[in-house]
Symmetry: C2
Subunit: 358 residues, 2 copies
């Protein structure tokens, strides 16, 4: 395998604290498995850069990034400095669209050593994927205001669903379901209330299902689906959802397994025409930044997903992914743990402990 | 007080099984407290009516209903007969809009005797309200398809937020928070991803907050807010949300307290220019219909909310509400309970047990 070129963007807040640990573990793992990685750090895509330059990224960001194999990404957002919709639309959400990372893949797994907020669940009981559409749908900056500043003020917000966009995420999800022992797919909808886009989503699911006769599927409205994440999370295998619903479910799922601090995510361009982005599900958490107490596991686990993606099926890379997961499980179970998990370790200590196991 | 005129619409599926129990309890309670109620049953607003007439309701439904004081409503929807967006947009969603029931008030409370899916919670720990905007926002039938039936098919779905619509629900929520001991309000947003409507929502919250200096408020993006419902539900007091976010949170909240089967809701027109609608949060559940095993508590509790609403502050009516709640708590704790709660009682038995305590 050639050397993989990885762009590193720490972003804001605790992104800067968990990134060094992610890199520490990924590098340790790469050494052990003889995987060649080359990292290039970008000092932009953060709110301080915005305050200085009036934009989140340099004008040639696309050119600068487009030839990397992957982007390892911390977290962006610091609302006291820059409103979230400006910082996010100026960075992460651009990557997802411009690099056509139309799959946002988010594992939900109850890990050993993590106290589960749900009663009577043990590791292994919860183990599924949220497959989130990542480029269109409800995340849109189309729309506007009329009668601005008056009592009649009216705001329109457009959601956009395309056949191409819907079909390709459904296909990815059906295929993922097909590859798993349970072969089960759940589609998130809200076609009873959202009367144009969601019936269309349902239609496309029904249209595709016959191509996957061995996959059992069902659909739930997002309200009751969220309820079922809490009441019977062990039922799920692969859950496919629009951009917004996937966003909600992929925070809710990890919450049901104890904490979103350890949850990873992969923003994938399956055709590899542009780099994919690997980032923890958690945000930049300005409130705890500066204390070096953030849990680095989400960042590290995202690094494991990145290695697996780079391997594209190669067994060494899959082994590398599994080795990181095993090290994470070990440290989650026996410590050291950061304060959010009831421990007193620093971000660095937890990261080092995981790296040492490799 | 005059006689209160109540329209009764059972709807589909288990709506027809829980409604008799709701009526049984409300009537028993009314007798005890000398409250005069007059019920009129409507045989429409259900999917069988649709199959016969090609519409969910008669053309003069508005005229027929508009002078009632309240509508006691079961549940609508039977997707094998009529697609949900047709049955719901042809009934419940019409009531909410045409009768300007802009507040959907949904208590979330951990009740005695209900096994909580969250570890280590006891009755009293979870006790808050979801205040959901109920007439606009993401629930819209505006939009359409372009390039229909081709690979380029594109679907637009409009959300509509008005200053009037946003401000009045925020005002209701701030006032409710102000009336409670904790005086705390949480606003659900997603302004980092949904770039036009949600920043507007945030703006209106910020604009109104200074009018309620004694209310402490915060805001969370819907993804992390859903996670917090699971991880720290005891933190919440009043949660205000758009139509869609409120829908999700008001199923998720009751799930965190054990079951959505017992959750009530009130679709309120606070100015009383048109009738308000009282309905359980659960749906019509075609899968369990016909066995008389549906849990009637959501329907009964909604009846209690209806009495309180009809009293409009009158102490007798508040006492009537509280008496029903006490009877519900008693039966939840000591049985008889329906199968969903681990018992073997029928819908009727559970309803009768609650009525007898009155
Ligand atoms: C049936 C459906 C349209 C409705 C809604 O989404 O409002 C229901 O889920 C509710 O919460 O009352
Ligand atoms: C930061 C925000 C825009 C983002 C999203 O909503 O997609 C985040 O919540 C996520 O899930 O990656």
């Amino acid at each position: 395998m050639p050397t993989h070129k990885i762009a590193v963007i720490a972003g804001d807040g605790i992104g800067n604290e968990v990134m060094p640990e992610g890199l520490r573990v990924v590098q340790a793992c790469a050494r052990r498995f003889n995987i060649e990685l080359e990292f290039t750090t970008m000092a932009w895509a953060n709110c301080d850069y915005y305050l200085e330059h009036g934009k989140m990224m340099p004008d040639d960001w696309f050119e600068q990034l487009k030839d990397f194999d992957a982007i390892y990404f911390g977290a962006v957002g610091w609302p006291d400095k820059v409103p979230d919709h400006i910082s996010l639309w100026g960075s992460l959400l651009q990557f997802r669209r411009r690099f056509d990372e139309y799959v946002n893949l988010r594992p939900v797994r109850l890990m050993p050593g993590v106290p589960c907020p749900l009663a009577n669940k043990k590791p292994g009981d919860i183990d599924f994927y949220v497959v989130r559409e990542n480029t269109e749908g409800e995340y849109s900056s189309l729309g506007g205001r009329m009668f601005e500043g008056t009592e009649r003020e009216t705001v329109l917000q457009e959601s956009v669903f395309t056949r191409k966009g819907v079909d390709r995420i459904l296909k990815y999800a059906f295929e993922l379901a097909q590859s798993r022992p349970k072969k089960h797919l759940t589609s998130a909808t809200k076609s009873n209330g959202i009367a144009i886009s969601m019936p269309y989503w349902d239609e496309r699911v029904e249209n595709m299902a016959p191509d996957f006769p061995d996959v059992q599927w069902d659909k739930y409205h997002i309200d009751i689906l969220a309820a079922r994440f809490v009441l019977s999370p062990e039922r799920f295998d692969v859950v496919v959802a629009s951009n917004l619903f996937g966003d909600i479910l992929s925070d809710l799922g990890p919450a049901c397994t104890g904490t979103i601090a350890i949850a990873p995510s992969a923003n994938i361009n399956p055709e590899r025409t542009f780099p994919s982005v690997f980032e923890p599900v958690h945000g930049s958490a300005p409130d705890i930044y500066g204390q070096n107490i953030a849990n680095p596991v989400g960042m590290i686990w995202s690094g494991a997903m990145m290695l697996e993606f780079l391997g594209n099926g190669d067994a060494t890379y899959t082994a590398a992914h599994d080795a990181i997961l095993a090290a994470i499980e070990q440290v989650l179970e026996h410590g050291p743990r950061t304060p959010d998990m009831g421990g007193s370790a620093s971000t660095t200590e937890m990261g080092m402990a995981i790296a040492e196991l490799l």
